[in-house]
């Protein structure tokens, strides 16, 4: 009985029940399957987050994004005053998180791959692309670079899902994806 010392002093020599042996074997095989799914997906899957990242000062990152945005701004998003940036297909794109916006708005082409740069200028933010539901943790002082390939077109929201202060729930950005 579990609340008393085991009746046999040498409990580790007791036989193991058959259903236990079977279950442990099955569970262990399942653990292996789950383990191999991850490297397997790196080989054949289309959704693997690159781990490329660099240390960067927030000011430096801000300047990089602004210079880049100035070059490719095509219009303003409605009357929000926020630029819509449309970089050449297949090039580098930048987005920054700060209290409390994702900046700038992007316009991408469906089916093209972009090198996506992401960092925060102040606190941690959570980059959440909706309705795709792709979620990435964004840190200040780290610039993350991964390749993104939009496979559907339309208007996508980018919200923040890491608590970043009292305006956290107002932090929304946008990505337009257009068919060629």
């Amino acid at each position: 009985m579990g609340i008393f010392p085991p009746p046999q002093r040498v409990w580790w020599n007791q036989p193991i029940e058959k259903s236990e042996v079977m279950w442990i074997t099955i569970a262990f095989i399942w653990a292996l399957v789950m383990f191999f799914m991850m490297p397997y997906w790196h080989l054949v899957g289309e959704q693997n987050l690159s781990n490329e990242a660099y240390k960067i000062k927030p000011e430096v990152y801000a300047e990089k994004v602004e210079t880049w945005a100035a070059k490719y701004t095509v219009r303003e998003e409605g009357d929000t005053g926020i630029p819509v940036v449309r970089p050449p297909a297949g090039s580098d794109v930048y987005m920054l998180g700060r209290l409390w916006e994702w900046w700038p708005v992007l316009e991408l082409e469906k089916g093209q791959s972009y090198r996506f740069h992401l960092s925060s200028l102040d606190w941690m933010h959570g980059w959440s692309l909706l309705p795709e539901n792709i979620n990435i943790q964004v840190h200040p002082n780290y610039e993350m670079i991964f390749t993104v390939k939009p496979t559907s077109s339309g208007e996508f929201g980018v919200i923040c899902n890491e608590f970043c202060g009292i305006g956290h729930h107002t932090m929304v950005g946008k990505i337009h994806v257009v068919d060629k």
């Binding site: 009985m1 579990g2 609340i3 008393f4 010392p5 085991p6 009746p7 002093r9 409990w11 580790w12 007791q14 036989p15 193991i16 029940e17 058959k18 259903s19 236990e20 279950w23 442990i24 099955i26 569970a27 262990f28 399942w30 653990a31 799914m37 991850m38 289309e46 959704q47 690159s50 781990n51 998003e77 409605g78 929000t80 791959s113 102040d122 941690m124 795709e132 539901n133 792709i134 979620n135 990435i136 943790q137 840190h139 200040p140 780290y142 610039e143 991964f146 993104v148 390939k149 939009p150 929201g157 919200i159 923040c160 899902n161 608590f163 956290h168 729930h169 932090m171 929304v172 950005g173």
Partner: protein, 564 residues
Amino acid sequence: MAEFRTCPDTGFKIDLNADKLIKWNAVTAVVFLLIGGLFGLLVALTRWPAVHLLDADLFYLALTAHGLDVLLVWCIFFEIALLYFTSAILLNARMVFPKIAWIGYWMMLIGALITNVAVLRGDSSVMFTSYPPMMAAQDFYLGIILFAVGALLGCLVFFATLHVARKEKTYEGSIPLVTFGAMTAAIIAVFTILSGAIILVPTWFWSLGLLSHIDTIMYRVIWWGMGHSSQQVNVAAQIACWYAIAAILFGAKPLSEKVSRTAFLLYILFLQLASAHHLLVDPGLSSEYKIFNTSYALYLAVLGSMIHGLTVPGAIEAAQRKKGLNKGLFEWLTKAPWGNPVFAGMALSVVLFGFLGGISGVMMGTEQLNLITHNTIYVPGHFHGTVVVGTTLTFMAISYWIVPTLWQKELVFPGLAKWQPYLFGIGMGLAATFMMGAGTLGVPRRHWDMTFADSAMGFDFPAAANLMMGLNGVAAVMGSIGAAIFILNMVGTILWGKAKVPAAAAPAEEAPAEPNVTGAATSYGSAGTMEVPGTFVLAMIFLVSFVLYYFVNWKYLSSVWGLS
């Protein structure tokens, strides 16, 4: 010199110091469950779009307080009580260093109060994870550090008591399995608290202006070294309680001591490093590290939990079959005491913990699958499946036995108690499920306004997402009523409960009288070759659900934008 009384229900020799410490720690735990639970209800009502109860600043304050008071304060106070119970009482031993245990108690209490004051003051709404560079008031961190050191003292008293009990030969052979499980929890707790110290002490210095910078990645790696292992403390403590309840109610002995103990050891060996599943979509870590850390360290611990998932019901099945409940696959289960809250709470928590908390946790902790769940409300959905309908429900269940036994009082509302595990378990189980459902649609966690009414650019969630957050609110109300009934029953019993007429008055199924218990301990042989077909079938149902759910999520992942 230690003084003892003899428990009329169980025949245990109870050290009066341990008695008092267990009572104070447990009562304090319940008080914080009340406070933290109230905050939880406010949070759930705010996230119900049609109700949207609190203002934004109060919402973030309440959410910070909720996380701290339930996850930290309620769980750990209760676990300290369990440590003292499984050492001094189960081993018939004297409690070593009761003074240190009291110092630990007061440090924990004062620490918890300091942090609560900081949060309620409104300048420390940083969530219980307190990620820099967002800074709380310095006393926020100080309170947590005090609390942690107090808990560490509790662990030390536990180890000292084990050691002295062995030296003074208060028991024969090995420590009981339940104590072994508690020891697992305590060992992991020591590791947990040390990780906590490594990260929170510098953070405290930073908040005092003595340090200029805390690296955010390092913070998350080490903080989750604490945050994750502390969940393993909860799991180990909860499973120790499962074995205890199986023993108390059914006289069940583990199918095999070797397997059950090894499964506990897996927790110690394979959990300490597992913080990477919280950082799967963070910059700066390699995929090799992420995969190694989550699967080496996690899947073998998952294996441990899957083993307990079989052996706990298996032990009960074996015991029931020995008593002659041998018809078909499930007579042992259908004839179980479902009206006894000790059993009902435990049984529900075994099922809900596995199906809701376990499966979702492994899914989310997969490197690529984390992309579609990270920081959505799926995550709170998952851990209300572990720490609420798992740990908390288990602690409630065992309280229905510990409180009447230690205080020697009758439950004040036995009729309500019968329903309580179902109200709380099903209510919070549904809440967890709806949160997971909403998370699948991308609804964020820790978020005051999913309609984005105050944003320059909005985003519209599908109606289903709003619906699920509403249903979450309804389920949370149900769960909260369940929690309230539990607290009322405990506090009521302690304050106004009728004194038990010794032994004879104990409900037979609740606490077997002394000869019964000790008899079981000495005369049962090994459960040895007894088959447990019913449990095995249940385990296979679990496995099939697990496999299906796991691959459904891969399918979902394969439909989102390409990333490389």
